[in-house]
Structures are given as C-alpha cells and as structure tokens.
C-alpha cells in the first residue's frame, strides 16, 4: 500500500497540481482582463466531452482540441475589434448548449454530466493524476519560458513591439496554456468551476503582492489552501468537493479584501 492508494491524497495532489498551473495563468487572466475568456474556453469544454465520447477518444484530448479552437476563435475575433462581451456571450453559451444537446444524443453511453460540469475530484485515478501533473508542468514551463515577454506584452503591446516581441505570439502562448489548464481541470473541478480557480486566487493574491512574481506565488499558495480546505470541508459537511474548494477560495478572497479595506481606512 502506497500513499497514492488513498483517494483523499490523490484528490489533494490533483487539486494542488491544478492550482499550481492555474495561479500564474490566472494572474495573466486578471491583468489582461480576460476573465470572460476563461469562461468561454471552459464552457466549450462540455462540447469537447460530447465529441470525445461520440468518437470514442480520450476526454482529455477532446476537451483540449475544442477548448483550443474556442480560445483561438475568441483571440482572433478580439483582435479584429468585435464587441467582446456580446461575442463571448454568444460563443460561450452556445458552446455549452450545443455540448449539452450533443451529450443527449449519445445513446448507449451513460454520461454522468454532473461529473464534467462540476468535476469529480474524489474519483481521480493514478492515470488522471499523471495527466493533471503533466499538463500543469507543461503550462508552468511554457509560462516560465515566456514570462518576461508575456509581462511586457501585457503592459503595452507597443512596448513589446519596440523590444522585438510580437504581442500576438504571446497571446497565442496564453491561449494554448489556457486550453491546457481547462483540459486538465475538467476531471478535477469541472467545466463550470475552472474559471473560478483561475481568477479567485489571483484576485485574492493582489492584496499581498508588490511584484507580478509575488502575486503569482501568493496565488498558488492561496489556491493550494483552498484545495486542502475545500477537501476537508466537503468531508466534514458532506458537500460536493469541487464547489467546496471554490467556496473556500471565495471566503479567502472576502477575508483578504476586508482586511485590505480596514488597513486602508486605518492608514488613510
């Protein structure tokens, strides 16, 4: 019997692997005001699940491909100056709706839709764990490699151009990383909650950081705390695990915002 035989340990490791990749990526999502973007990509994931099951390929692969297509579409259209919120409202919810309808056509396979919408972190297998950590490692390497160029392009596209950095290429790197995180996350927290894990820890971390790197580190730490706290809470109160993790993250955000507000008032 090894450590990984315990489903709780596997769940915790899967969650932590996911937030380690989601934290720095989530910071970019927040800095670049792309929260909607994460939503659209994640909603498209359900369509990916349906297609993967229909063609009997791996769910991870299906989600990765569809998320990537969605992310690329959004990213291309946003560069063409479409009204972004409207466009995303159309794309994100249509993808979700078509996904749900497509799933209903799948006869013969019984699809536990809830598991894909909200994840089933307690059912994570060793193979899933390998996928999560492999994907997370890939995202981290990608971000590490492009970090400085990404930050420069995030600050100002012209500044990037002048330094010989192509901001569109950096946007593509983020798009790819986002699709990877969504594909990895679908098993852990599901399509509807992944956007929360991207944004909430990063937003919480803002209060404790004076540089971009510290914000990313703090976000990872806060994400890990949320995973562990959420798992404990779901065991204790017998609540669904994925949503419990997000609830803990949200409570941490509330606490940090309140603390910051009080501190500010005392100073000012």
């Amino acid at each position: 019997m090894t450590l990984l035989d315990d489903f709780l340990i596997r769940a915790a490791l899967a969650g932590i692997g996911l937030v380690l990749a989601a934290a720095p990526l989530g910071c970019f999502v927040v800095w670049r005001r792309m929260a909607y973007f994460g939503d659209a990509t994640a909603h498209a994931a359900i369509l990916g699940v349906a297609l993967a099951l229909a063609f009997q390929t791996s769910v991870f692969g299906g989600v990765l491909v569809v998320s990537l297509v969605m992310a690329l579409t959004v990213s291309t259209l946003s560069n063409r100056g479409f009204a972004m919120d409207t466009l995303l409202g159309v794309l994100a919810h249509s993808a979700l709706a078509f996904g749900l309808v497509a799933v209903s056509f799948l006869h013969g396979v019984r699809v536990d839709l809830m598991a894909y919408l909200f994840g089933d972190i307690l059912a994570v297998t060793r193979a899933d764990l390998a996928v999560v950590w492999g994907g997370a490692a890939l995202v981290l390497v990608l971000l590490w490699w492009r970090w400085s160029a990404l930050l420069t392009a995030t600050l100002n596209p012209d500044l990037a151009h002048a330094a010989g950095i192509d901001p569109r290429r950096e946007q593509l790197v983020l798009t790819l990383a986002l699709a990877l995180v969504v594909a990895v996350a679908i098993k852990v927290v599901g399509a509807l909650l992944i956007a929360a894990l991207l944004i909430v820890p990063a937003a919480t971390a803002r209060a404790f950081a004076n540089t971009p790197e510290r914000m990313a580190l703090a976000a990872a730490l806060i994400g890990a705390l949320s995973v562990i706290g959420g798992l404990q809470a779901s065991l204790h109160y017998d609540t669904p695990t994925g949503p419990s993790i997000v609830c803990v993250a949200a409570l941490l955000f509330l606490a940090s915002s309140t603390a910051q507000l009080l501190l500010h008032r005392r100073r000012g």
């Binding site: 927040v30 012209d158 500044l159 151009h161 540089t211 790197e213």
Partner: protein, 253 residues
C-alpha cells in the same frame, strides 16, 4: 547607413489613409521632432517604425541590430498588476541593480526604485519610462508625446534631459510633440507631417516655411499658433488631401 530608412510608406487604418507616401531617414546622433496637427499620422509613423503597424505600401528598414528605446504616449498599468519601479526596469530583460540605478539617475528619477508604478506622479512616471528605454543602450530613442500631462517647466526640464541623454549616449532621438516652441529649440531637424511630409529641415528653416505656416500659423509661439490656421494651404499633389481643419474655436473668447 541610416538607423531607419523609410521609402514610400503608406498606412491605411480602418479605411482611412493615415500616411501617404512618406520618405524618411534618421541618422546616428540626430534629434528629430515630428510636428503636425491632430490626426496627421505622427503616432502612426512612430508605430510603423517600431513594427507595431504593417505598412500598406512601402518599406521600413532598420539598420541590422538596431536597438530601439521606446517611450509610449501613455502607459496604463492595470491596477490589478503590482509593479515596482525596479521590477518595471527588468522588462523585458533583467538588469543589474547598478545598471538600474544608473539609468534612473540618467533619467532624473533616482530614489524611486521601491515605489509602485501606479503611485508615481506624471513627471516621475515619464522619467521612469525614459529610464527603462535607456537600459537597452538604444541606438534610437523614440518618444511619443512623452510630456503629455506635464506642466510647462516639467516638460521643458524633460526635453533638457533628452538633449543631455543624447549628448551622453550618442543615440538618435525621434520624437513627436505638440509643444512646438519647446521642442523645436531642442531639435536638429523638424519634420512637419500632415498625412505626408509637408516640409522638413532645421527648426528655423521649417518655422519660416510656407507649408509649416499654413499648418501652424504665422505667430511665433507655435502652441498659440495651433489655434490660428490659415485654410488657404494647398498642395501640388494630384490626390485629394483632407486639409480641412476643424474649427478649433478659441477658448478665450
């Protein structure tokens, strides 16, 4: 060889021809100022030079290995992005503390290292932008309305700083400005732009050129003159240029 040479550059943006058949070069050590009314394509020209805009026609050629230091018109840093002055100077290439301090001193922004970018005053912010642009040891420093939001003594001091930097580093400087009288005194060459290059040369020469006067009026104080256009200006080009300036309506009336 010139640092940047531009031949026959045309740029269309959103269906409008912003730049039409522009030929331009800048050489080592020169301070060149581009002046022109709003919408005359000044920023567009700079953005084409740094490669942020693709020309519709013509060519923009850089000297091989050209290092550009760019100071944008304005830089909005999202409040969710924490950024100290010191960290900002590390973008996109990390520099040593000694280099960072030297660049800040050169730009007249010493002692700001630990401050958050968002908490700087307008003048401090522009100086930090300048310091960052200097860190790459640029051959060409490009400033797009770098003194926007500074008061008159502030911008005069800023341009003084630019001249010092040029003398010290030997880089060329290309800038866009509205503050004609301040800028023209500090330039080796002035380019008067209005979709195309109307005239260029030494400041004294340009200030007395009929094309320049047509755009900026005959008054000596360029800034004031901006409000007194003569509309009789015509060009001997075949194509139809939009030279109708909007009525500025003198605010002091």
């Amino acid at each position: 060889m010139s640092l940047v040479s531009i031949t026959g550059l045309s740029v269309r943006l959103g269906g409008n021809t912003v730049l039409h058949h522009v030929d331009f070069t800048i050489d080592r050590g020169e301070i060149v100022t581009i002046v022109g009314p709003n919408g005359s394509g000044k920023s567009t020209l700079l953005r084409a030079i740094i490669g942020a805009l693709r020309p519709t026609a013509g060519r923009v050629t850089h000297k091989t290995g050209l290092r550009i230091g760019y100071v944008p018109q304005k830089l909005h840093i999202d409040p969710t992005l924490p950024m100290t002055v010191r960290r900002f100077l590390d973008l996109p290439v990390r520099v040593s503390n000694a280099e960072a301090v030297a660049a800040l001193d050169e730009a007249g922004a010493g002692a700001l290292t630990a401050r958050q970018m968002a908490g700087l005053s307008g003048g401090q912010f522009q100086r930090v932008l300048l310091a960052r642009a200097l860190l790459g040891k640029p051959d060409l420093l490009i400033l797009d309305e770098a003194t926007q939001g500074l008061d008159q003594p502030g911008s005069a001091a800023f341009y003084q700083k630019i001249a010092e930097v040029r003398d010290h580093l030997g880089c060329a400087v290309l800038m866009v400005s509205h503050e004609l009288h301040v800028v023209m005194a500090a330039s080796d060459r002035v380019v008067c732009l209005n979709g195309h290059i109307c005239c260029q040369g030494e400041p004294e020469h340009v200030a007395s050129a009929p094309e320049y006067r047509a755009l900026f009026g005959t008054g000596t104080g360029g800034a004031l003159a901006l409000y007194r256009h003569e509309h009789s200006h015509s060009h001997d080009h075949g194509h139809d240029h939009d030279h109708t300036h909007h009525d500025h309506g003198e605010a002091a009336e």
